[in-house]
């Protein structure tokens, strides 16, 4: 990997994002409440210390993702991110289909977090299970109201929240590990649960890092291009440390049979380590993760919907703004869809399915990112602030590796390594088919309607200026008519 930062002119903004904030944003986007469940899914395939080994290998693989997205971000440092890379690499329609599918992961994560936090609060308060859904509605209601009011977490608040969650989880995990001492009862055996169990464990481990690359959407406010590159490399390191400690503590202090059916493994670890204090400690951290998820998730997804509507790819009603300059219909729709998904999860108890779907979509996106890098290497001859050494072979390797990991998670049963399941793949296929059908059938109609509306209601306002060519064309004609 090489760095050519000094070749890019830097623009100084009055308010810009530095490395600490960008790293916090990246780690905060990745580390949601669903990550605690993600560790349980890894444990299904890699018990005991093997889970930490899988997370380590996942971290090594993520370095490749960091490098790929660093180069793409340096090439197009914009909030439009993957939409633009894809558009330039494979065309606008494919870009739109993939981006719509990608954005559904945001809804899944918001819904999952709402459900998990609701379930955790209900558990600690010893309420009947049906009240979990009331908590979900309350949480989403608060998030909706705050978003419609235009309330946003300041960068420094987001930074503090992220580092508190990461540090708090690490400290409790270390305390829990003191209970275990040296009694690690499982040898490291990545393929101990079947021929493919190691591959599936690594694929689920990737889910813990998922969404860290969304920090590229803040590229336009970064102090220098190097800030985003640093964040892309440092954030996975932080997640690796925290997730490894948590996995080690969880696997040795709480039995897998207890974790298997629980939506709040972090609370079980908290109780096992420090009793009620530990449980409340982990509940507080779980609630804090919601601040990042709801703030970041709603912001990214609603602004994407707004831009898509303004571009003519979604009904223009989604671009309507309230008096706080918030796209209110986009935010409200996101909340309602998240509430519905959370209700389905609540009713079916299939929360680990969200982990499989999220992990598979992320692997798919990483494979697509690799393809983008490969194609843009040959198509765009422009200086990059960051350039991946041996980019082409590594991009080919990435495309193959992440495709394999996509298959490994899309057909995995997140609870049981002995079974395959088509449920995750079915969900992704349905989402992908809906996106593609929409892009192929509805978007052209919307764009034709928008063009017709503009032509009918709004003539060009800019005055036409005569150029020398115009004058030269007119003059002989004028002379001839005389």
């Amino acid at each position: 990997m090489s760095d050519q930062d000094e070749q890019v002119p830097t623009i100084t903004l009055r308010r810009s994002v530095g490395t600490a904030t960008a790293t916090a944003t990246s780690a905060g986007l990745a580390f949601a409440a669903i990550d605690y469940l993600g560790v349980v899914s890894i444990l299904a395939y890699a018990p005991g210390a093997t889970a930490a080994f899988a997370i380590f290998i996942g971290g090594i693989v993520v370095i490749l993702v960091s490098a790929i997205f660093s180069e793409l971000n340096g090439l197009y440092p914009t909030a439009a991110g993957i939409r633009l890379y894809l558009g330039r690499a494979v065309g606008n329609r494919t870009a739109l289909s993939v981006t719509f599918t990608y954005m559904t992961t945001v809804v899944l994560v918001i819904a999952a977090d709402a459900f998990l936090i609701g379930a955790a609060v209900r558990h600690v308060l010893n309420e009947p299970s049906v009240l979990a859904y009331v908590w979900i509605v309350v949480l989403l209601g608060i998030a909706l109201a705050a978003n419609l009011k235009g309330v946003r977490l300041a960068g420094w608040v987001q930074t503090i929240v992220t580092y508190t969650v990461l540090t708090g989880t690490s400290i409790l995990s270390i305390i829990a590990l003191f209970h275990v001492g040296g009694a690690f009862n499982h040898p490291v055996d990545l393929f101990g649960k079947g021929t493919f169990s190691g591959i599936q464990a690594v694929a689920f481990a990737l889910f813990l890092y998922a969404a860290f690359e969304w920090v590229t959407t803040t590229a336009e406010e970064a102090r220098t291009p190097r800030v985003i590159t640093r964040a892309l490399f440092v954030a996975p390191l932080l997640i690796w440390i925290v997730a490894s400690l948590f996995a080690l503590a969880l696997s040795h202090l709480v039995s897998y049979s207890t974790l298997h059916g629980s939506a709040y493994p972090q609370l079980l670890l908290g109780r096992a380590a420090l009793g009620t204090v530990g449980e409340i400690w982990m509940l507080s951290l779980t609630v804090l993760t919601a601040l990042n998820t709801f703030n970041g998730g709603f912001l990214v997804a609603s602004r994407f919907i707004y831009a898509a509507a303004r571009e003519g790819n979604l009904p223009r009603q989604f671009a309507r703004l309230n008096l706080n300059a918030v796209p209110w219909l986009a935010v409200t729709t996101l909340t309602v869809v998240s509430a519905v998904v959370a209700a389905v999860v609540f009713a079916t108890g299939q929360w680990l399915l969200l982990v499989s779907v999220g992990a598979a979509i992320e692997c798919g996106i990483y494979a697509i990112g690799s393809v983008c890098l490969l194609r843009l290497r040959s198509r765009v001859d422009r200086k990059r602030p960051f350039k991946l050494i041996a980019g082409q072979p590594l991009a080919i390797f990435g495309a193959i590796l992440f495709s394999v990991l996509f298959v490994a998670t899309a057909f995995a049963d997140p609870k049981d390594s002995r079974h395959f399941s088509i449920a995750p793949f079915t969900v992704i296929a349905v989402l992908g088919a809906l996106s593609t059908t929409y892009v192929l059938l509805v978007v052209p109609k919307l764009q034709r309607a928008a063009a017709a509306r503009t032509a009918a209601t709004r003539p060009r306002r800019r005055p036409t200026r005569a150029t020398l060519d115009d004058i030269n064309t007119i003059l002989p004609a004028a002379e001839a008519s005389d």
Binding site: R15, T78, G87, L299, R303, A307
Partner: protein, 119 residues
Amino acid sequence: MADWDEICEALADYTISCNENVRLRKMQRDWSRMLHFICSDTGVTFSMDVDKGEIMSTLEGLVGLPDIVVSTTSETFCDMFWGDLNPVQKYLRGEITVKGSQEDVMRLDAISYVIWPES
């Protein structure tokens, strides 16, 4: 390529449209920013001072420390300030580049959207 006079003409119309739009002024009541604009083809630069949603002044050159920096061709700037193009389409194609927070980028587009909803 559009010259500075053409850009000024477009900016004059844009300023009136912005400042006289009651809904826009209400929406942008908490938005005070210094904007820098850079014409990538001609090298012309200019600055816009917005205070509580009202465009206070537009000056040639880069004045003060910016909150947002917008770069594109002089023609695109002219069309944008006349409301003859949709800035989001150009932005998503990478033809308009912006430095600034996502929120400010959206606020900037919101101005065009509120003044010319059909653009």
